[in-house]
């Protein structure tokens, strides 16, 4: 079993440090295995496996596919081609007592294909709304996505805001504080990320994994059991632990 845990040195969220230490991003071999029969990589007793649908939204060319590619395959392509239709990838991360399998839907960003987005965010438990810190318009567009999700997506959806391309801070057009304030107002997770340097990429997915409810329920029914890692304030009606 390979461990590809990479805790980024730039991690700005200290409150995550404790849990991060026990989190693992597992290799691809595990990522494709079916839920329920997952082996505990460290030999500890079997834990529950939670499967979550996560969708990436945001303006065209902000780096949605690059973030996914970095998270899932650890790769980066400077000239990542545009996404037509949608792409689907999976990645599994281990928290200390749960295994979280992300089913990641990567969407096309151009406004023309906006009408297809609901198909992907419908039923999603998490979303990463991405903007490009060097482009103010993409931040505005991100806010619109957040609004749309708040209005149309599952009420319990966990939304993270990612200010991508933080390696291009010299060309920054969106201030960190501005985005942080917006995220706070709207109850979003927020990080500035760089798919290119890998900064905060795993972290933002892990932060989401942490915030998602992990019930003891069987078969993906309504959350009935303890929500050990969940946010107590966030009332959620569903998770898909199996």
């Amino acid at each position: 079993m390979t461990y590809t845990q990479t805790i980024d040195s730039f991690c700005e969220m200290k409150r995550l440090a404790r849990s991060l230490a026990s989190m693992f991003v597992r290799g691809r071999a595990m990522a494709t295995s079916r839920t329920g029969a997952a082996q505990r990589p460290n030999g500890a007793p079997q834990t529950k496996v939670c499967q979550f649908k996560l969708v990436l939204l945001g303006e065209s060319a902000v780096g949605k596919s690059s973030l996914v590619l970095r998270f899932v395959k650890g790769q980066f392509h400077e000239y990542q081609e545009s996404t037509i239709g949608a792409a689907f990838l999976t990645q599994t991360v281990c928290l200390d007592d749960t295994t979280v399998k992300f089913e990641i839907w990567d969407t096309a960003g151009q406004e023309r294909y906006h009408s297809l987005a609901p198909m992907y965010y419908r039923g999603a438990q998490a979303a990463i709304v991405v903007y490009d810190i060097t482009n103010q318009d993409t931040f505005g567009r991100a806010k619109n996505w957040v609004k749309e999700l708040q209005r149309q997506a599952s009420p319990s959806i966990v939304i993270a805001l990612a200010g991508n391309k933080s390696d291009l801070a010299a060309k920054r057009m969106v201030e960190f504080e501005e985005a942080q304030a917006y995220a706070d107002e709207n109850g979003l997770l927020f990080m500035e990320t760089s798919a290119k340097t890998a900064m905060n990429v795993n972290d933002i997915f892990l932060a989401i994994a942490n915030k998602l409810p992990k019930s003891e329920g069987v078969g993906g029914g309504p959350a009935a059991g303890a929500r050990r890692l969940g946010d107590a304030e966030q009332q959620r009606s569903s998770s898909c632990c199996k």
């Binding site: 065209s60 990542q80 081609e81 545009s82 037509i84 239709g85 792409a87 009408s115 297809l116 419908r122």
Partner: protein
């Protein structure tokens, strides 16, 4: 459709095909002003004589039965309104003094026969619809209070053939009432890719087969003799179907006979027996690919002045084997309607000069835009942004576009920006750079690439339109084709919530560009541009790919996500020649199938069989023209 109609004997009984509530009558020529601004229901109805109309009925004349219906409601009538199954409403009736109300009600209903409808347009943020039966006059104006007119328009388009006008994208011109409306009587609402319950769509499809006994009458059997004209065509030399194929098909005829389950029912009202045929396709013929069109052959097909004399022959050769690399850049100009086939070298030279000037005029339009102008031109800026973002990441792994500051990227950008000026309304949409990249790579010339791009875009512009209706329609057509060719797989997809075929969006949007290498995509595209052997052959390419993956999908019980992932992962793993050969085989299976539904015939540009009124004499059935009339007139894609 629910039963329990109380209006069976009404002379003007009609059937609602689609209804939309909450529609305000805003204007109607020749109507008393008191009739205006009342709310009603806008419907598409089928009249007793099978003609269709758009009908608006004021709400105050329509009451809804409730389950706690009073006795006084016992006397009800529906003034020719039958059930609205679309909305699940039990029955719309009105009560009271039946004769007086009947007359009043009738007077207030607005009816526009589809046969008379000339144009309609959608304005005010999709909420207002206007209809015209006379050029230049909008007779009626409706305002949609609930939602917008989108679904109504989509539904209407199932019953009339429309074209958008060039000057106004919101105006539709009715080309002709769609005779296929019986078959296509399925609203876009059902097709809507956001619809959760895709089973309904398929159920309707299946029930259409079942409910159209004409499709499956004895005719079905006698149609098998149509196979014969394969032989005829082969002999006439026009078509390139080998005798081997004809043999195979003839053999398959016997096999069908053996494999077909026959149930005989008797219909009361007319003279023929209805036979249910277990739909089954003849075996798929294996059709080898040919060799590419060579320089010698190409030159041999032109006269001394350079006119291409044997256009059909050229298309046939290209369809069979593609084009040799050495002349590909030249022949593409013809296939993409940049060079007319009939022009001499001298005429082409003049044309080329003219097109070059035109190109640079349009290029100058945006090149000469100052920063200040640009700052006040948001729509232009937006398009420019989109182009820049995508050019930078188009085919960068190919040597022609690789590396920092590659000058070819600038050409790519210039062409796309000039196209924005050429077709500002469409603008730039993601996917277009994928379409252009192989063209420029091959042509190596800015002007030629531009005009070839224009030609290609003309074939697929509807893929990129704002409402995505073109894509939705193709996804439905693909689904219908698959349901006929491979019902097992199609049903599996439906069960797995993939009946919307969305996993094939990328295939259809850019004609498989992302699935093949540059070398292979050039081969595939040139074959598809021939328009042979039928319209929408690219959909059969999709069917061929899916059919080859059928066992994987089914044996691994792939669900929605796995299906999409698997389809995306097929990229660069597909054998273009094998797929072309399979797709052609599927085409032959389809055209030789005795019970090919009209909706598929429409998709493939085949003449429809209007069986409902025909008597099935031997003579009729042996006439090849009944189903093969447009031999060389296949609509261009």
């Amino acid at each position: 459709m629910s039963g329990s109609s109380s209006v069976e004997d009404l002379p003007d009984q009609c059937k609602d095909l689609f209804t939309q509530d909450g529609v305000l009558l805003k204007a109607c020529l020749g109507r008393p002003i008191t009739d205006l601004n009342s709310i009603g229901m806008l419907c598409i109805v089928e009249n007793h004589d099978n003609s269709k109309s758009i009908e608006w009925r004021p709400n105050d004349l329509i009451t809804i039965d409730s389950d706690t219906q009073d006795q006084e409601w016992a006397v009800v009538n529906t003034i020719g309104i039958s059930m609205s199954y679309a909305k699940g409403r039990r029955q719309r009736t009105f009560s009271g003094n039946i004769t007086a109300d009947y007359a009043t009600a009738r007077a207030r209903i607005i009816r526009i026969p589809l046969e008379e409808l000339k144009t309609f347009r959608v304005t005010r943020n999709n909420q207002q619809m206007q209809f015209s039966t006379k050029p230049g006059v909008w007779q009626t104006t409706f305002y949609f209070q609930h939602g917008n007119a989108e679904i109504f328009v989509a539904s209407l388009k199932n019953h009339v053939k429309t074209a958008k006008t060039r000057h106004d994208r919101n105006t539709y011109v009715v080309v002709e009432p769609n005779t296929e409306s019986q078959v296509l009587n399925k609203s876009f609402a059902e097709l809507d890719i956001f619809t959760e319950n895709t089973t309904d769509v398929v159920w309707n499809l299946v029930s259409n087969f079942k409910q159209r006994p004409y499709e499956t009458t004895m005719e079905a059997f006698s149609k098998l003799t149509d196979i014969v004209y394969y032989g005829n065509e082969g002999a006439s030399g026009k078509r390139d179907v080998s005798e081997e194929v004809a043999d195979l098909l003839t053999k398959s005829m016997n096999e069908i006979d053996e494999a077909t389950t026959v149930t005989t029912l008797t219909r009361q009202s007319d003279e023929y027996e209805v036979v249910t045929v277990n739909p089954m396709l003849p075996p798929r013929p294996v059709i080898p690919r040919g060799t590419p069109l060579s320089t010698e052959k190409w030159e041999g097909l032109q006269d001394t002045e350079g006119r291409v004399t044997e256009v059909d022959g050229v298309r046939q050769l290209i369809f069979r084997g593609g084009i040799a690399r050495s002349i590909r850049h030249l022949v593409w100009k013809y296939l993409l309607d940049y060079y007319p086939w009939h022009m001499t070298h001298a005429q082409l030279k003049t044309l080329h000069k003219k097109r070059t000037e035109e190109y640079f005029t349009m290029k100058l339009q945006w090149r000469s835009m100052t920063e200040a102008q640009e700052s006040r031109f948001a729509e232009y800026r937006e398009r420019k942004n989109l182009v820049e973002k995508d050019v930078n990441r188009t085919d960068r792994t190919h040597p022609y576009y690789a590396g920092e500051n590659n000058p070819n990227l600038l050409v790519l950008q210039d062409i796309l920006m000039t196209y924005v000026m050429y077709n500002f309304d469409l603008g730039y949409v993601q996917g277009m750079s994928d379409i252009l990249a192989p063209l420029l790579l091959l042509m190596g010339n800015e002007v030629d690439s531009f005009w070839c791009f224009v030609g290609f875009m003309d074939k697929i512009a509807s893929n990129f339109e704002m409402d995505q209706a073109g894509m939705k329609h193709q996804l439905l057509q693909l689904q219908q084709l698959l349901m006929f060719v491979s019902p097992e797989l199609a049903n599996h997809l439906v069960q797995k919530d993939s009946g919307n075929m969305f996993f094939s969006f990328r295939w259809l949007l850019v004609w498989f560009k992302r699935e093949f290498s540059h070398r292979d995509i050039m081969r595939l595209w040139e074959v598809l541009w021939t328009g042979l052997p039928c319209a929408n052959f690219h959909l059969l390419i999709g069917v061929a790919i899916l059919d080859a993956e059928k066992d994987v999908f089914i044996s691994k019980d792939y669900g929605f996500t796995e299906i999409l992932k698997h389809v995306n992962d097929l990229s660069m793993c597909l054998d273009v020649d094998k797929i072309l050969s399979n797709a052609e085989g599927i085409y032959h299976q389809l055209v030789s199938s005795p019970n090919l539904p009209d909706q598929i015939r429409v998709t493939l540009g085949l003449p429809t069989i209007n069986i409902s009124t025909s008597t099935h004499s031997e003579a009729d059935n042996n006439k090849p023209s009944t189903s093969r009339g447009t031999e060389n007139g296949y609509p261009r894609i």
